[in-house]
Symmetry: C2
Subunit: 248 residues, 2 copies
């Protein structure tokens, strides 16, 4: 067992995975606290604090005399980064990226349009700064991904909608915590064509980003929306490519 966490956190992770990945099913009772103490060889304090971590995430509900039951899926706080990670760990590679890209394709064009109307001069300057950083990062995949994320976050923040910002922040945290992005890079040996393929895509990507930034700066919402759509079509295609490559 990894020692990155304290006892409580380790047990949260273990039981959390058991539930979210379906080995403990909704309605089932967890063993009683004193049995969990024996099972994990820890004190009841640790078990109870771990169960609190799960009940805060809506995964279990404890009641005296009844015990601790696994909640129905509709009660789960799926938008907790840990819950999301546990969930997608149990799914095929790339599934998270696929869903993420899809919801981005729904949101970001409309968000770009709104940002074009609402962004303050400071926010436009911030978007430009992120774009310049992106231009400078085409050589380094790691830096490029970071700069790319910052660019999109800066646009979404310019919408001045706290719910949107919260969603983006959650997805960003999940993306960075998960290994979703660290998968395709290791196999740079035989897949040299993958690298060139990505670089081919990067030129188009930089162009799209430039067009999006210009449109927002010029307060042209329709154009910002259009170019964001085009960019996300490319992203979706790239994700599918990565998935098919990682399946070999």
């Amino acid at each position: 067992m990894a020692l990155r966490f304290n006892l409580r956190e380790q047990i949260v992770q273990e039981i959390g995975r058991e539930i979210v990945q379906g080995r403990l099913r909704p309605g089932e009772n967890l063993p009683q606290e004193y049995l969990l103490c024996q099972q994990y060889q820890v004190s009841r304090t640790v078990i109870r604090e771990a169960l609190k971590g799960l009940s805060t995430r809506g995964l279990v509900k404890a009641r005296p005399r009844v015990g601790t039951q696994v909640c129905a899926r509709k009660d789960w706080q799926m938008l907790d980064p840990d819950v999301l990670i546990w969930y997608f760990e149990g799914k095929p590679q790339g599934e998270f990226l696929r869903h993420l890209t899809e919801i981005r394709a729904m949101i970001e064009p409309a968000a770009a349009e709104l940002a074009a109307q609402r962004a303050t001069p400071e926010e436009i300057a911030r978007i430009e700064k992120c774009f310049r950083q992106l231009e400078k990062s085409i050589a380094s995949p790691k830096q490029w991904i970071e700069a790319d994320i910052e660019f999109h976050v800066s646009i979404l923040n310019a919408c001045h909608n706290i719910l949107l910002q919260s969603l983006v922040n959650t997805l960003r945290k999940t993306l960075l915590k998960s290994r979703a992005l660290s998968v395709p890079l290791p196999e740079s040996g035989p897949g040299q064509n993958l690298t060139s393929g990505i670089e081919l895509g990067i030129d188009r990507s930089v162009y799209h980003h430039q067009q999006i930034f210009s449109a927002i700066r010029d307060r042209d919402g329709a154009a910002a929306c259009r170019h964001m759509q085009a960019l996300l079509r490319d992203v979706a295609a790239a994700v599918e490519t990565l998935i098919s490559l990682s399946e070999r």
Copy 2:
């Protein structure tokens, strides 16, 4: 203090509000555990389990020797329904509805289009059932709101995107837990014109819903998108009306 909750939950709520509503600021230290025990007149067990609930939501971080610090806002799990409610409690009336409607206007047209492509026959039947229920509920505001929510949820679920479903579920839970919807109804005395205004809107609303359902059934994504946009324009206008009325 309401006794709806156990001690731990009460303290989670109290300190959670202190943080999210800004009376305890990021970087600040909470009092040490033994001091909190004195302050709230409870055992350290309760304090620790409460702090655990806050740290799971990303509001605080505890470290030996250093104490328990309020986290930066970017670390907060804003999409936890409790955190959202605490946050909007500190904001003007209707602020949550406004932000909610805005993010719906970004997402739902695209989602309706996707649903038109992807919905299974069962899901289309479900959407129709929700629409029929809506038609039957025009007389009862309470039932109408429920049916309306179910209709939109059924469309969003037909997109088969777990992230989208999770977001919708979170917002739905928050809406139902908060008093956001229970505000305008009490003042039905002098505001009779409000009622008639809403009923005028309901006719249009039923029409829009009908068009949306038909478009999805007929696999006409573009039309579904168009009609959803029209509906949400009306919703946004209604929200603004309610806000201005509640400000009198």
